[in-house]
Assembly symmetry: C2
Homo-oligomer: 219 residues x 2
DNA sequence: AAAATATTTTAGATTAGCCTAAATTATATT
DNA sequence: AATATAATTTAGGCTAATCTAAAATATTTT
């Protein structure tokens, strides 16, 4: 079955709301896609007809097995393209997403299989997210929020959950980016703030709120 | 100015009908795009509004300077992607076109400039067609129909004009493909047939009709 | 120069995807 | 349990891109 780009974007968004495991609501999806609830309802009916999700009006919806398979296919393409842009075309980690958002919709199994091979069958994308294989299987990513990271262990920043300008401002200030290698030196129990060190730079303190949004992979 | 995929396909098709040099007719364009003349008229009005072509009803149309620039940008993207698919992903020359037809519409100047660099700034695509540079300039391609090729000069097959099954049957029989290196040994004036030789294989004779549809680049 | 034919345009539909505003249904509060 | 509020759906419109059939215009033939 071939889907339009719009249908693919909806399916992928439902998956990102964990719609393979739980009921998702119309408003949640509208919010994530920056669209209107009425538009979501329209699309839900269409996707239900195509048997990609189970949906009863006013009751929420979740992906069918087929829908989940589709979602993983789209995510596979997205993350492979992100890897390509990062590895081969020297894109920064914050430049890859928007272009991959378009590239993911190009349908050609030859293309995506050859791309996978060309990249050496990568298991993770530049953000540290796992890349599904052709069957939809993926490795569990070993990254975790910085506030759960063991003390005195080197780790590499793999993902930033909140990408608001305010957050990026803090990150920029502390010179923290995807790929930055750091170490948690100490945890303050009073406010759960953390003292961390980047390479040879002086130690800095960040709040729990910031730490929760920085994901790292221990090395 | 940003165009839709559909607008881009129309602009490119007008260019391929030499619409930068001459007046093109509605039916010609409809034929090339496998669409209806009425649809072409609709689009012509839209593209005229965007000043991409000059068009007066019943009088035909041609590209404006701006339209030509757009066309060359699209062709640049198309041919760079074809080169990528061929060089890096081991696509055959007859597999690249359809995928490039989609990839060409992805808009990101960073993407296309980096791709160009990654490929080593190629001047010709896998079909031997020249790739416009960022300013729209391209080298004149040196390929010509086999029946006009000088005698006893090695040349490489760069393009096959007629790709009907009948033609492909003949080519397959003689083991002629894009990239095949050959030499014209003799021209028979009686029926304009040619004797050619591929590498160390025994010489073969092909008709004028076949020769006209095989394009080569002398080396 | 008429008539016949071919080309092109217009008129009017259709579909996908989106929207706003109003109506409906579910959930929370009193 | 009734009322208020929140979530969701429906109704009705809009635009882009396509189509068919009919009308208009241009071109060719007699
Ligand atoms: Mn997308
Ligand atoms: Mn990613
Ligand atoms: Mn195209
Ligand atoms: Mn080509």
């Amino acid at each position: 079955m071939k889907l339009t780009s719009s249908e693919e974007n909806y399916i992928k968004a439902v998956y990102h709301l964990r719609g393979d495991q739980r009921l998702v609501s119309t408003n949640e999806l509208a919010e994530l896609l920056a669209t209107r609830p009425a538009s979501v309802t329209d699309m839900l009916k269409k996707l239900r007809t195509k048997k990609l999700l189970q949906y009863e009006r006013y009751q929420g919806f979740k992906l069918s097995a087929e829908g989940k398979k589709m979602a993983l296919g789209i995510i596979r393409r997205h993350r492979l393209w992100e890897s390509f842009l990062s590895e081969k075309l020297r894109f920064n980690w914050d430049q890859v997403h928007d272009v991959a958002e378009q590239l993911e919709h190009i349908r050609s199994s030859l293309l995506i299989d050859r791309l996978d091979e060309f990249l050496g069958f990568p298991r993770f994308d530049p953000h540290g997210d796992p890349i599904p294989d052709p069957q939809g299987k993926m490795q569990v990513s070993r990254h975790l929020p910085l506030d759960e990271c063991p003390l005195l262990t080197f780790a590499i920043v793999s993902h930033v959950t909140n990408q608001s300008n305010q957050m990026l401002e803090i990150l920029g200030h502390h010179r923290i980016a995807i790929g930055t290698k750091l170490e948690v030196r100490r945890k303050f129990h009073y406010d759960h703030s953390l003292e961390i060190r980047i390479r040879n730079q002086p130690a800095i303190v960040i709040s729990e709120q910031v730490a929760r949004n920085i994901h790292v992979k221990p090395v």
